[in-house]
Amino acid sequence: MSRIEGVLKTLKGQGRKALIPYITAGDPHPDVTVDLMHTLVEAGADIIELGVPFSDPMADGPVIQLACERALKHGTSLRQVLAMVKTFRETDAKTPVVLMGYLNPMEAMGYEAFADAAVDAGVDGILTVDLPPEEADDVAPLFTQRKLDAIFLLAPTTTDDRIRAISEHSSGYVYYVSFKGVTGAARINVDEVASKVAHIHEMTALPVGVGFGIRDAETAAAVGRVSDGVIVGSVLVDTIARNQADTAELKRALTDLLHPMREALDSLAS
């Protein structure tokens, strides 16, 4: 059983929902990323989605675009991101780490070399925004052979046929994008999410994490009620942007944001 599967199974057994924060690696500086990852865990994270910065983040809104620019200004490369995970693993063997990003940095490194290095670093899952399963024939087997979970996106526009096909290609969990738009927009409609996620649950046994538009305890609880976990990104990244200068203050601010979400999610436990 993969680390992701194990964590989600345990949570399910406890009637709890997963809290999955996202931060961009190398933002505000490569030296603090590992520290921030530990902070996220202490504040209640079950799984970490670690963003690999890319020069052209087409699916991201301004908040994560700027995070990528900050990280790239310090030269944060995919190899460095893998090294960060490796360091994180030295003191945390239990929290799954999912790398989230765009295809080209992986292609530039070479898929096989990347997959080997990811396993070596202790990465658990790979989520590539611009890689639908149709284009993943060569890549996905490299991940599955190495027991890396391949996590694919589902969207409000995804047809039933595709929900089935994508779920078959996925492991760990599927990531449901809560609205049509880019990250950081405030367009979430909880009723729509509830009905679509219920529909997805009918078609796959995989846990469904929901991301995009979750910004506080209230939205986390509302979405947690209808899914298996929530992914929280832009609001955290925005907090990083506001507190770049002072790491201690930044860690406090991230904790202050995540704690209420954790509590709100746990209050749903039956």
């Binding site: 620019e69 526009t157 049509k180």
Partner: protein
């Protein structure tokens, strides 16, 4: 290394997943997949629909002014002293460039799909103007995304778009040029996917765009073929076109791909020189990667981050290129070369002074290389340069370089 292409091979490309060999495809976030698949399905049906084709042809004739002339550049030929130089005059199209061939086609598609809101990216502004034009004609809401740097250097076209009723969004992110405009257009599309049609201006982007833009632009090569046969009794020996994303080049080349005696030359922007790294020539100096929905040759650093580009011409200032060009390069069917900013400016001046035709700075790259190539060819050979756009929009840039304020 060159492969003999047959009509049969060509009609099978791209394949069902939008691949040209190792290139192309559909690398987008899930939200857009359904729209792209619907667009592909509808387009493949309409392509066979005589009514749709008749409408397209009629618009090209009556609104764009096609066919565009094939003109023998007698004085330029004499001065060059080599092959006969002919010019395919896409600059004479309505709106002044080849771009309108495609926007006419895609606007018809949008109408068939019932979409009322149009978005487009633009570099030099020619595609933006061509999109704003068809939107004005059809009464569609039009939003054009343009890098903030390009808004500056192509201010004339920005004003034209505004006069035509389009909203021009200056994109401040990234390198503030064409690639960032395309990122922003994609972000708008993913947000407004229900009511919005994205008119991509070049043969790049996710499948089916490289295919459908190629099909709409292929009118250039089809006309050229029959004009050449009519005027000279033979096919040309060489075709030359500039390549940014590569839509005018594919439009010119595609109907000749199976004619192995017709040599094809795509001219990329060499900027300050390939060796300086300050250029926009992915086919000459890049490597395959994935950007903007397709796998193609890209300019990138060793970590897979997209590199900044430089060209005096905004329309060529793009780190990628259409996937079909990448395929043509790899199979050796087309040659891809580059000329520098300075050579392109010389080409601009030469065509202006010798033939009285002021080309766009993008086109000037093809002119510069075409003249160079013609000089090495025999006098009984025939070379055709695609004059993809006219140069009025670049007058400010040229004046600035000459230290003149207009």
């Amino acid at each position: 290394m060159s492969v003999k292409l047959t009509e049969e091979m060509l009609s099978a490309l791209p394949d069902a997943r939008g691949h040209f060999g190792a290139f192309g495809g559909r690398f987008v976030s899930e939200t857009l997949m359904d729209s792209l698949m619907t667009l592909e399905k509808e387009y493949l049906q309409l392509k066979q629909d005589p009514e749709f084709q008749a409408k397209f042809d009629k618009d090209l004739a009556d609104y764009v002014g096609r066919p565009s002339p094939l003109y023998f550049a007698e004085r330029l030929t004499r001065e060059t002293g080599g092959a006969q130089i002919w010019l395919k005059r896409e600059d004479l199209n309505h709106t002044g460039a080849h771009k309108v061939n495609n926007t006419i086609g895609q606007a018809l598609l949008a109408a068939f799909l019932g979409k009322k809101r149009i978005i487009a990216e633009t570099g030099a502004g020619q595609h933006g103007v061509a999109t704003a034009t068809v939107c004005a004609r059809l009464g569609l809401e039009c939003h054009v995304f343009m890098g903030a740097e390009d808004v500056q250097r192509q201010s004339l076209n920005v004003f034209r778009m505004k006069l035509l009723g389009a909203e021009v969004h200056a994109v401040q992110s990234g390198t503030r040029t064409l690639k960032d405009a395309m990122n922003e257009a994609m972000r708008d599309w993913v947000t407004n996917v229900d009511d919005t049609f994205y008119i991509i201006g070049t043969v790049a982007g996710p499948h089916p765009y490289p295919m459908l833009v190629r099909d709409f632009q292929s009118v250039i090569g089809r006309e050229l073929r029959s004009q050449a046969l009519e005027k000279t009794g033979k096919l040309p020996d060489a075709l030359v076109a500039c390549v940014g994303g590569g839509s005018n080049a594919i439009g010119m080349f595609h109907p000749f791909l199976a004619d192995e005696n017709v040599e094809l030359y795509g001219v990329e922007a060499g900027g300050l020189g390939i060796a300086t790294g300050q250029h926009a020539a992915p086919l000459c100096a890049g490597r395959p990667g994935v950007l903007h929905g397709n796998r193609t040759y890209l300019m990138e650093d060793e970590n897979g981050q997209i590199a900044g580009t430089h060209s005096v011409s905004a329309g060529l200032d793009y780190p990628g290129v259409g996937p079909e060009h990448s395929w043509l390069k790899d199979i050796g069917r087309a040659h891809y070369v580059s000329v520098t900013d300075d050579e392109a400016l010389d080409g601009f001046r030469k065509l202006t002074r010798v033939e009285g035709i002021m080309p766009a700075l993008e086109t000037a790259h093809a002119v510069a290389y075409g003249v160079k190539l013609a000089a090495e060819m025999d006098k009984d050979q025939m070379l055709v340069i695609n004059i993809s756009g006219r140069g009025d929009k670049d007058i400010h840039t040229i004046a600035n370089l000459d230290g003149i304020e207009i």
